[in-house]
Assembly symmetry: C2
Homo-oligomer: 484 residues x 2
Amino acid sequence: MNTLFESETRTATLEEHVPYWHETYDVVVIGAGFAGLTAAIEAHNAGASVVVIEKMKAPGGNSIISDGGIAAAGTSMQEKAGIADSAELMYSDMLKAGMGLNHPALVREVATHSTEAFLWSRDYLGVPYMDRIDQFGGHTVPRCYTAENVSGSTIIRCQVAKLRELDVEMRTQTMLKGLIRDASGTVCGVAVRDGYNHKSPHSGTDRFIKATRGVILATGGFGADVSFRTAQDPRLSEEIDTTNTPFATAEALIEALRIQAMPVHLSHIQLGPWASPDEKGFGDGPRFADYIVFQYGLIVSPTTSARIVNELADRKTVADAILEVGRPCIGIADSKAVEQSGWSIDRGIEKGVVKVFSSLSELGSHYGLDNAALASTVERFNGFVEAKADAEFGKPIISEAGPLTNPPFFAMRLWPKVHHTMGGVQINASAQVIDLKGYPTGGLYAAGEATGGVHGACRLGSCAITDCLVFGRIAGRSAATEKP
Amino acid sequence: MNTLFESETRTATLEEHVPYWHETYDVVVIGAGFAGLTAAIEAHNAGASVVVIEKMKAPGGNSIISDGGIAAAGTSMQEKAGIADSAELMYSDMLKAGMGLNHPALVREVATHSTEAFLWSRDYLGVPYMDRIDQFGGHTVPRCYTAENVSGSTIIRCQVAKLRELDVEMRTQTMLKGLIRDASGTVCGVAVRDGYNHKSPHSGTDRFIKATRGVILATGGFGADVSFRTAQDPRLSEEIDTTNTPFATAEALIEALRIQAMPVHLSHIQLGPWASPDEKGFGDGPRFADYIVFQYGLIVSPTTSARIVNELADRKTVADAILEVGRPCIGIADSKAVEQSGWSIDRGIEKGVVKVFSSLSELGSHYGLDNAALASTVERFNGFVEAKADAEFGKPIISEAGPLTNPPFFAMRLWPKVHHTMGGVQINASAQVIDLKGYPTGGLYAAGEATGGVHGACRLGSCAITDCLVFGRIAGRSAATEKP
């Protein structure tokens, strides 16, 4: 039993209470996802001694199960493909989706450095990207690049390899227990539990690690923390599934709030509109829904068989539209759309999440739709596609899209899952954590989903990895150059 | 110089650091607005010794400048007027406006006890109410009762008189400096600055007041705190005016967050859509806009002369619609509407905030509108009024409303101001403050605008006073009956 931790509810974790420092680094990074690994690499390259702390058995956190799509504006690939894009356009797309709540200076950093961060991952880390540029809901133009295997693990693997090459230490099964501040209020180290095992949380031993230059909070979101998330949005009880790992919890955020970090946008919690109620977690349905249905197909209500929304609207708009219907809606595409997309949906079909039908009426009957109403909805939609103008919801019709007339037809049920927590601690453009009175907290930095403000009320798809890389790099450099 | 306060950024304010208690009460109430005065009366009547702390020179806080409207569902006055209402209907109106973010148990308390709280204020406190029932945006039926003089001061005056009658002590110019916790983490008192003067914040002397049963935070919102509110919503810079007093600031909320109260919905900040850019603060325009234009008239865009929104939608919808236009919009009514409303708008006219025109075209020319477009907008709107169905925006047409055909016409410019902060500390249905880990904070209660969760994403007009009275009463009783 450690009295420091026993008494933490009533007293701050102060350096004067630390019995001794077990070890010392310039920079301690908490969390081994996209943001943390990026920060560690950059802090090392800026000359700091670095250790990465990760509570789970392996690095990757929630990042490793993402689909590995990263937005970057104004790349040479876009130029070759004839896509006119700019940091300014990405900035305005992000602000629009964020309903103006975004912190403009943070959005500016992400948009301006998006291409630089993408190229850094490709050319310096060696992340292999697929030869395609996708357009997701809320983006004005295609600007998403997807890592090979459509998986964040491709990026994580390259980051971990780079850290090994650089000889940066990583400690897995090491849980943050407390941020430690010196007499001036500056964060000067961390208390951790070594040998942590999430199945027996009291396992392991306590250690104190001094950070002479800075601590970087890169601990991700709280999408799987039912207690914390329902305080912010009571609808998100345990009955709503999440795409996150079960370990996307709030304890590090709570620790930052305990030492008076300013909370920002905590109640803005993103639901993934492309999720299936017929599988657990992120699953295989979203690839079909996000890359095929939303791009080329349509979403219909199970009760009216009518379309319900601009399928390429931002995630909040689409998820809210589905929730408003109150029952899982049906996402529909045809074989031409699947072919156009260039994606394989075999895994979704094998799992039974994506269904195949020889005709629209077979599809309609399977889901209990009114087949006459469905036929008329699809016919009307096809008219919009041919006219290149959606007179019903104003969806931008992608140039290579054609009418849905080519069997087999593919469909899946759609029901939102908790996907991303837009809120977190406030940071400034140097990734310094801001306190309740508006001042930077000395020695404390943050990046990625642990922070709030970049995405405002709603994050656009593929902007999270950009955020993690851009602010991970900034946090790593800022912390490394802090005066010891 | 007091080292306790000097060091407060790095250490909690603990009882062991308190040199001595200057005095002791069972219950200390912080803030002398609707919620705080209500809590003090109820705590006294539950047998506690009580002191009320107020930072300003006089009681009333931001409440005193409100328009004194209180929502109550299912009253006998409604029944007499043939209005079918219920707590259930009020509950669902509040949840709908709150976009489902409201904490259901808190909304349930407010709706269920709304009539009881209203009658308590009328019959026990002796608040005189006008003989009218109004319907505000977002409410399904008329359920707002307005204190005489259309002013919160009428209610405050009765509350203060009742406290005097009960011999409950009130200390003005006494500023909260810190919440003090004992070794178990329970809030056991407060540090205050006596003789505080907001013009010289370091004036006065420090005192420690022990609270043997509880401290009640009734410190209101942070609508006038530009630094805190821009962290939550960066659009709300000093260029946006507020209807609040300049003293509606965040220092007490910050103090509660410092001792780990759970922040809820801080970024949901309500703008008053009925405000005029032609006067400072709340002003005299809102009475015309809210009670006359929104009820019987219409709002047109200064660029297109078209209607922009259901004028009886909730505040967020109306304010967002005006902001979306990007320039002040024009609210219009006719003399019959003014007469029907029963309100005097003389003060708005005297100030030049509300303008009088002998014809619609004179009105249009004054505001630079396209008169042909304006005439057609009004004609169309009048058709909806006569048909009792708004085919454009679905506004519920009030039964006694008639077409706008009776000169003189009245109009004002509309531009939103910061009005109410929906967010604050989390409480449970007993008004106990909930901490970051989901547990009640011993000895700490809160009520009114200092709390978050009752109103969710958007507060309905006239529900704030109901909230303050219902939860003020609960907080007073809960604190008074806490074991000493």
